[in-house]
C-alpha cells in the first residue's frame, strides 16, 4: 500500500505548499493569519474502546480494549489560481506498530468551467461510502460490504480523474477515473501499468427546500492477477431531510448502498455482493440516533452469508468533537460465529477542517 510514487508526490506537494506560505509570511507583518490563509491544516483523532463477546479470540475482527483508531493529518491549500492541493496523512496501528501512510495526496483544477481534473492518490468516487475518511464515517466502522468487497482500505489508488458537471436543472455529475489496478482484494495487478477504469454517475434532486434525493451508479473494471477481468458494480440511494427552521436540532437521512464484485478466474468468492442500509435521526441539538442493517450474500460468499445489525447513539457537543456509542450484532455463517460488540469512540477535530461532502 505504501507506494513509492505516492510518497514522492505528497512530499513534493508539502514542499510546494509549505514553501509558498513561508514566502508570503515574509511579505506581511501578520504571519499567523497569512499562514492559516495559505495552508489550512488540521488533525482528526479517533480514540476507540471496544468490548466484544468473542473477546480476543482469533475469530474476533478487532481486539478488546482501548486503542488509537486513527490520526489524520490534513493539509489543504489553493496552490495558485489554477490548482488546489489536498493531502491527508493517516497514522494508524498495523500489526501492533504505528505506520504513517499518505491516505490521499492529490491536486485538482480550479480554472476549467464545468470540469474538474484531479491527479494523485485518492479515494475513488465509487459509491456513497468509499470516498469518506474514517473520521466522517456515519458509524464507527465501515460497512462490511465495503470492507469485504473493496478491502480494508477501500478503493484508494493513484491515478487521474475527470469529472463533468452536466448542465441540467438537477445536480448531474459524471466522473471518469483511471486508477492503478493495485487493490489486492479486487485486482492485485503486479505492475503499475495496468489501469482500472472507474465510472461514477451522481444525481441529486432537490425535492423541496428541506429534502433531497440522491441516486448514484458506479461501474469499474480492470485486469486482475489471475489473467481475468474484475468487474465492480455499485448503486446507492440517499434521502436527506433537514428543516429550514431550527436546522441544527432536527434532521433525518437514509442511505442504502449495493455493491457487487465479479472476479473472473478467481478460485474463491468469484461473485460477491451485499447491501448496506443506514439511517440517522436527530431530535435534539447535540444528539444523534442511528441504525444500520447489512447483508453480505447477494450473491453469497463461498463460506456463507454475513449479517450485521448496528445501533448508535451520538453526543455532539460542538462541530469539533463527538462521542459515539455503538452496538453491533454480527451473524457470520462463514465462520459459524455470532458476536455482540460494544464500541465507544471519541472523534475530535483540531485546526482547520474543510467542509464535508453533503
Amino acid at each position: 500500500m505504501f507506494k513509492h510514487i505516492t510518497v514522492s508526490l505528497s512530499f513534493f506537494m508539502v514542499f510546494f505548499m509549505g514553501s509558498h506560505s513561508v514566502y508570503s509570511q515574509t511579505l506581511t507583518s501578520n504571519p499567523v493569519q497569512t499562514l492559516t490563509k495559505n495552508l489550512d491544516s488540521g488533525v482528526n483523532a479517533l480514540l476507540l474502546g471496544r468490548m466484544g463477546s468473542l473477546g480476543n479470540s482469533p475469530l474476533a475482527d478487532n481486539p478488546n480494549g482501548f486503542q488509537l483508531q486513527e490520526l489524520e493529518l490534513r493539509f489543504t491549500s489553493n496552490i495558485d489560481a489554477f490548482l488546489r492541493g489536498d493531502i491527508t496523512l493517516a497514522i494508524e496501528s498495523e500489526d501492533g506498530e504505528f505506520i504513517i501512510e499518505p491516505e490521499e495526496a492529490f491536486v485538482e483544477t480550479l480554472f476549467i468551467p464545468s470540469f474538474t481534473l484531479k491527479a494523485g492518490k485518492f479515494f475513488a468516487n465509487f459509491g456513497r461510502h468509499n470516498s469518506l475518511h474514517a473520521h466522517s464515517f456515519p458509524f464507527i466502522d465501515a460497512p462490511i460490504t465495503n470492507t469485504y468487497i473493496l478491502g480494508d482500505e477501500g478503493l484508494n489508488e493513484v491515478g487521474l480523474s475527470v469529472s463533468y458537471l452536466v448542465p441540467t436543472p438537477w445536480y448531474f455529475e459524471i466522473i471518469g477515473q483511471g486508477l492503478s489496478a493495485s487493490n489486492d482484494t479486487l485486482f492485485g495487478s503486479p505492475t503499475n501499468d495496468d489501469l482500472a477504469a472507474v465510472l461514477f454517475v451522481k444525481n441529486l434532486w432537490e425535492l423541496s427546500d428541506t429534502s433531497t434525493l440522491e441516486f448514484d451508479l458506479g461501474y469499474s473494471n480492470g485486469k486482475n492477477s489471475l489473467d481475468g477481468t474484475t468487474h465492480l458494480y455499485n448503486s446507492s440511494l440517499t434521502y436527506k431531510w433537514r428543516p429550514l427552521e431550527k436546522s441544527t436540532s432536527r434532521s433525518f437521512s437514509w442511505t442504502t448502498e449495493f455493491l457487487l464484485s465479479d472476479r473472473e478466474n478467481s478460485p474463491t468468492d468469484k461473485r460477491v455482493g451485499g447491501i448496506s442500509s443506514w439511517a440517522q435521526l436527530q431530535l435534539k441539538k447535540q444528539w444523534l440516533l442511528q441504525a444500520r442493517a447489512e447483508h453480505l450474500g447477494l450473491p453469497k460468499p463461498d463460506d456463507g452469508d454475513i449479517n450485521k445489525y448496528s445501533a448508535l447513539i451520538g453526543f455532539v457537543p460542538s462541530e469539533f468533537s463527538m462521542l459515539r456509542f455503538q452496538y453491533d450484532y454480527i451473524d457470520d455463517a462463514s465462520q459459524t460465529k455470532e458476536e455482540h460488540r460494544l464500541s465507544l469512540q471519541l472523534n475530535i477535530s483540531m485546526g482547520s477542517h474543510p467542509a464535508h461532502e453533503y
Binding site: T116, L165, Y171, T212, E319
Partner: protein
C-alpha cells in the same frame, strides 16, 4: 446504447435557459439578495443560497447549490468567515471559474466595512464558535449597509458597464431611502424607555450600537453552545440589577431559555428577524430593520402597561 444517447441528448438540449441577458447573481443570504435587487432591479436575476428561516452559519454544502452557482456572473458573500464552513465547497463544486475568490465575480461584502467584536488572532475554540475576524452581522446596521450597497453597485457597473447609470441612480435612491428611514428609526428608538437589551447570540450588536442600545448579555454563554442553568441564573440576576428591559431573541434560536428569564425578571421577550424573510414580515431589507425597531417599541409598550 440508443437509449443512453437519447437520454444524454435530452438533458443537454432541453436544459432551460435562465433569464437571458440578465446578470446572474448568487448571494449567500436573503438580506444580500434584497440589497442586490434594490441596486440591480430588473437588470439582475438574484438567487440566495440560504432561505430566510435558515441560519447562515450552519448550511450543508448541498450539490443543488452548486447547480445554482454554476451559471452565476457574480457571487456576493457576507465574509468574515460566516460562510467558511460551506461556501468554498460550493464554489469549487460549481466549477465556475468566474466566481472564484479574487476574480471579478466574487464579492466579499465585509471588505467595505470595519468590523466590530474582532478577537485577537490567537483566541481559541474553548470560547465557542467565534468569528476571529469580527462579527459578521454588520448588515443590521443601516449605515454600514449603505457602504455595502455602494460596493455592490460599483461591482455591477464593472460587470455591466452599459447600464452604469441605472445602477448609479438605483444606488442613490436606495441610499436616500435608508438615510431618511434611519432618521425616523433613531427618533422612534430614542422615544422608548429601552436602554439595555439581551439577545440570544451576538447577532444584533451592530444594530444596538447604531441606535445607542446597550448589549447587556447573551443567552448562550459561548457562541454556538447552549446555555447552562448557572448562566441563566446569572442573566436573571443581571436583568434585575441592571434594569434590562428587553430580550430580542433572534428567530434562528430557541426561546425556552429566554422565556425562563422573562418569568423571573421584569423584562419582555420579542422574537426578531435577523435576515430578510427569517420571519414572515421581514419581506425586504427595509422591513427587516423596521421589524427590529418595532420590537424595541413593543418591549417598551409592554413594560409601560
Amino acid at each position: 446504447m440508443k437509449l443512453l444517447f437519447l437520454y444524454l441528448s435530452l438533458i443537454l438540449f432541453v436544459s432551460p435557459v435562465y433569464g437571458a441577458n440578465k446578470l446572474n447573481v448568487i448571494t449567500t443570504t436573503t438580506t444580500l439578495k434584497s440589497i442586490v435587487e434594490s441596486i440591480g432591479g430588473p437588470l439582475v436575476s438574484v438567487n440566495s443560497i440560504t432561505k430566510g428561516p435558515q441560519d447562515p452559519h450552519f448550511i450543508e454544502a448541498k450539490p443543488s447549490y452548486m447547480v445554482k452557482a454554476r451559471k452565476a456572473n457574480l457571487l456576493v458573500a457576507v465574509g468574515l468567515e460566516l460562510e467558511v464552513g460551506w461556501l468554498p465547497h460550493i464554489i469549487r463544486g460549481s466549477r465556475n471559474p468566474k466566481i472564484v475568490k479574487g476574480k471579478a465575480g466574487y464579492l466579499d461584502a465585509s471588505s467595505f466595512i470595519t468590523a466590530i467584536d474582532s478577537f485577537p488572532l490567537l483566541s481559541d475554540r474553548s470560547q465557542g464558535h467565534i468569528h476571529r475576524l469580527g462579527n459578521p452581522h454588520f448588515l443590521l446596521d443601516p449605515l454600514k449597509t449603505i457602504k455595502v450597497a455602494k460596493g455592490i453597485s460599483e461591482r455591477l457597473i464593472s460587470l455591466d458597464n452599459k447600464n452604469r447609470f441605472i445602477y448609479e441612480s438605483n444606488f442613490k435612491k436606495f441610499e436616500q431611502q435608508i438615510l431618511d428611514l434611519h432618521q425616523n428609526w433613531t427618533t422612534r428608538i430614542k422615544k422608548t424607555s429601552v436602554e439595555k437589551v439581551m439577545t440570544y447570540h451576538k447577532t444584533l450588536n451592530y444594530f444596538l450600537k447604531r441606535y445607542n442600545l446597550e448589549h447587556a448579555g447573551s443567552i448562550e454563554a459561548k457562541p454556538g453552545i447552549p446555555p447552562t442553568a448557572k448562566h441563566l441564573i446569572s442573566l436573571v440576576k443581571k436583568a434585575n440589577q441592571d434594569k434590562v428591559t428587553c430580550i430580542l431573541n433572534e428567530s434562528f434560536f430557541e426561546t425556552n431559555a429566554g422565556k425562563r428569564i422573562q418569568k423571573s425578571a421584569p423584562l419582555h421577550l420579542e422574537v426578531v428577524p435577523t435576515e430578510v424573510y427569517s420571519t414572515p414580515k421581514a419581506t425586504s431589507y427595509i422591513n427587516l430593520i423596521e421589524q427590529l425597531v418595532l420590537s424595541v417599541e413593543n418591549c417598551s409598550k409592554q413594560l409601560d402597561k
